[in-house]
């Protein structure tokens, strides 16, 4: 179970795939792009998302929008549902929907990710974004509107809420031990209730009392990805497995890496410049490739991704040689297992259920 294997020896390539950039917002278009990325050897696809848009130019009644050319309204798919639908269609690529903690209940985030993990046989990841745009909070009824908005205080509150959400989500993910379902006909018990634990979490703005309604998923804890730009966002990294360091970040890579053991650090790169991958400093463990904001997916998506994966494999070889340890499972050396999990593919240590670990430790002392 537990392992001292350090993550990130292989160099990972992930694709940021905004469903708004697809030719049509359909499952066929989405799965075609994701299967192309899978075939190119990409490790994971991140699905960006948000609950609301700026009004399309000229479409509002009050006419407040600018004078620019009229743009087609954004059409996007809910990322969690899109990832779930991709679960049975793709076979090895990781599926990482972006979910906004200021909008979606921690309980719904936790159970949605467990369900995607079940449907993909262990390939789900969670990209949690705080939701710093006030328009997103206005789309839901869980934030009290403030009389005199204090931007700095609101930002701090939303970031704290994101950290709290991650902690609540972790507790929900761990609330069922793997062997909680016993189906004991002799006693009539389906569950061993001693192996299910309330989240019992109280954060700054909310609490979660009970256990998850979803049994432990294949990965236990799907990898958590956050994007960090400045020092205020650094506390998110302490709850993450993967940190994407923003291209314009004001915090340093080493500072982020110090936030947690086994943390993978990914750089943001434009999809059009996979060659830049080769010149990244050695501190990085992978890249998140993204098309330029607002631009559609390139026609030669597969070529661009194949170039990036080739460059990543070269880096993997360098890193492996430098550390004189066997190659791992990232890009190009996918495990022989029929269903490699995303944690496994990224060389993250297996998630150990703390209750199970404590129980086993106690049993060991009584032998």
């Amino acid at each position: 179970m537990s392992t001292t294997q350090s993550p990130g020896r292989g160099f990972a390539v992930a694709l940021s795939l905004d469903s708004a950039t697809l030719q049509a917002p359909t499952l066929a278009a989405l799965s075609s792009a994701v299967l192309a990325a899978e075939a190119a050897g990409v490790d994971a696809v991140l699905l960006p998302d948000r609950i609301t848009e700026a009004p399309a130019t000229g479409a509002t009644a009050d006419g407040a929008a600018g004078t620019g050319a009229r743009q087609a309204p954004v059409q996007r798919l809910d990322a969690a549902l899109a990832a779930a639908a991709l679960g049975p269609l793709a076979h090895s690529i990781g599926l990482i929907p972006q979910i906004t903690s200021a909008v979606t209940e921690p309980f719904h985030v936790a159970t949605a990710l467990q369900t995607i993990d079940h449907a993909s046989l262990g390939r789900a990841g969670l990209a949690l974004r705080p939701g710093l745009d006030p328009a997103e909070r206005a789309a839901v009824n869980i934030w009290e509107p403030t009389q005199r908005p204090d931007e700095a205080a609101e930002r701090a509150a939303v970031l704290q809420d994101a950290v709290d959400s991650l902690e609540a989500i972790e507790r929900l993910w761990d609330s069922w031990e793997e062997d909680a379902i016993i189906r004991d006909v002799a006693t009539g018990r389906f569950l061993d209730r001693e192996r299910i634990h309330d989240a019992a979490y109280t954060g700054h703005r909310f609490s979660v009392e009970g256990a998850s309604i979803t049994p432990r998923s294949p990965q236990g804890r799907p990898p958590v990805l956050v994007r960090v730009r400045d020092e205020d966002e650094l506390p998110l990294a302490a709850h993450a497995d993967i940190v994407v360091l923003a291209a314009d970040a004001t915090v340093g890579a080493e500072q982020v890496r110090a936030a947690r053991e086994h943390l993978l650090l990914w750089a943001e790169l434009p999809l059009t410049r996979p060659d830049a991958l080769a010149s990244l400093p050695p501190v990085y463990d992978g890249v998140l490739l993204a098309p330029a904001p607002g631009s559609p997916l390139p026609a030669d998506l597969s070529d661009a991704l194949a170039r990036a994966v080739a460059a990543a494999r070269a880096r993997t070889t360098e890193r492996t040689a430098a550390e004189a340890t066997p190659a791992d499972h990232t890009t190009g050396t996918v495990s022989a297992s029929a269903h490699p999990t995303l944690r496994h593919r990224l060389s993250l240590p297996e998630a150990v259920n703390p209750y199970t670990a404590a129980r086993h430790a106690e049993e060991a002392t009584h032998v």
Binding site: P25, T26, L27, I51, T52, E53, A54, P55, A56, G58, A59, T60, P73, V74, Q75, R76, L77, D78, A80, L81, A82, A83, A84, A85, G87, P88, V103, E105, F107, H108, T111, A112, Q114, T115, I116, H118, A119, L121, A135, A138, A139, V140, N141, I142, R183, G188, R189, F190, L191, D192, R193, I196, A199, F206, S207, V208, G210, I213, T214, P215
Partner: protein, 441 residues
């Protein structure tokens, strides 16, 4: 079908739930959580040309006497994401989930269901439930914030806001909804629905629930499954439609129903008896008796008599709709039945709690279902099998062909592929005053 004496029967496949109806002790019972179980179940229902597959929503694990209830199947997926995964492995069947109007936000419901419609080509539906208790609320940001009396007000506003967001989908228009319970502003970013909007299903039974249904619902999922009681419910609810200016055919009434099959009627009855004993094990019988008696009965022998003392008024089960009426009256009725028929405690529970079920040969079951729809007990049924995931297999293999032979059931899905087309429901009239299509392009 035009020569048939029967009206078309609508069938819905209810994934077996987290209660004693679902048998887990049978060797054929599979995982209640692996996606392969959901896939098998949905594809079987699709093979049987069902209208839709239906999933409940879990918001908290059930408790009895302050501890997790451990006798029933427990643990289920997040409704919307498992439906989305099912959209990828099915082609025609509708996908409907229960989603609380209390613990879900309208802007999230609108975009999630809008996405499910986009992923499935317009096959989605929403069963609106109005849970409001503090026990479920304990898992959510606002807790049990809603008084019982406000839950239909909240439900109505959530449905209205969600419909407004759907109407604006694909336009880039801003939607503001400012009610007493819902106060939001958003620019929806999901595509416009291929079926106007997802189908609205509702399960309320109270007068307030029936009025809500008459105003908003397109399908009612009810427990009134049989005979005169079903006919009265059918007349009552369809009668309320006129007051809201709706046509009778714009609302389908689909009660939940179990079924048990056998090669002969006697064999079917024997099977039903065996299943009932699997559903109500000794410990489950005691657990249900505790709910009526309001107190711990762990020392009671389920194969002996009912408790000799009267019930006390206490709610021991949390996280589940109360299953029994007045405890004193229930206890008195059960005691009278036990004395009259010489039944043990467990046998009384089995005899009084079993769900309405159609029991017989495939032909008998098909005929009974078709007759009930012909006699306007309902427009069809939400079938609740007792086994996961294979509980529908025999029905689809044996009863569906019988229904088809009676001329009471489709032999193919309609050419137009949305859930609305499958159910024969009208498309909604555009409610938005938004930008007409094509303007300014």
């Amino acid at each position: 079908m035009s020569e048939s004496a029967f009206r078309p029967v609508h069938l819905v496949a209810h994934f077996p739930g987290v209660n004693s109806t679902t048998v887990w002790s049978d060797p054929r019972a599979g995982s209640q959580i692996d996606f392969s179980s959901f896939e098998h179940f949905a594809r079987t229902a699709e093979r049987g040309l069902f209208d839709y597959v239906f999933l409940a929503e879990g918001l908290r694990l059930r408790e009895q006497k302050g501890r997790l209830h451990d006798l029933d199947v427990a643990g289920r997926p997040h409704t919307l994401t498992v439906l989305a995964a099912l959209a990828a492995v099915t082609e025609r069947i509708g996908l409907v989930g229960t989603l609380s109007s209390t613990f879900n936000e309208p802007a999230e419901l609108a975009r999630a269901l809008g996405t499910l419609d986009a992923l499935s080509g317009g096959r989605s539906g929403w069963n609106v439930v109005t849970s409001s208790d503090a026990f479920h609320g304990g898992n959510f940001r606002r807790g049990g914030y809603l008084d019982l009396g406000e839950r239909y007000e909240r439900a109505a506003e959530v449905v209205q806001a969600t419909k407004q967001l759907w109407a604006a989908a694909g336009t880039g228009e801003e939607v503001g909804f400012h009610g007493r319970q819902v106060d939001i502003t958003a620019v929806p970013n999901t595509p416009a629905s291929p079926q106007g909007h997802p189908v609205i299903v509702q399960a309320g039974d109270s007068p307030a629930g029936r009025d809500f249904a008459a105003a908003h619902a397109e399908v009612i999922f009810t427990r009134h499954a049989a005979g005169r009681e079903g006919q009265e419910f059918y007349r009552d609810v369809k009668g309320r439609l006129a007051r809201t200016g709706r046509d009778e055919d714009s609302l389908l009434i689909l009660p939940g129903a179990g079924f048990v099959l056998g090669d002969t009627e006697a064999e079917a009855r024997a099977n039903a008896d065996e299943i009932a004993h699997q559903q109500i094990s000794g410990p489950t019988a005691v657990s249900l008796l505790e709910q009526v008696w309001g107190t711990d009965l762990s020392e009671l022998d389920p194969d002996g008599p009912l408790p000799s003392f009267d019930p006390v008024d206490a709610k021991l089960r949390r996280g589940q709709v109360r299953q029994f009426g007045d405890p004193q009256a229930t206890a008195a009725a059960w005691r009278a039945k036990a004395e009259r028929e010489h039944l043990s405690a467990r046998e009384v529970v089995i005899a009084t709690t079993s769900r309405p079920a159609y029991i017989g040969t495939p032909h008998q079951v098909a005929l009974a279902l078709a007759e009930a729809v012909r006699d306007r007990v309902s427009d069809g049924f939400v079938l609740v099998p007792h086994l996961t995931p294979s509980g529908l297999d025999e029905f689809v293999d044996k009863v569906v062909p019988e229904l088809q032979d009676l001329g009471a059931y489709r032999t193919a899905y309609p050419d137009q592929g949305t859930l609305r087309d499958i159910l024969g429901l009208p498309y909604p009239v555009a409610e938005s005053a938004g930008v007409p299509a094509g303007v300014g392009a």
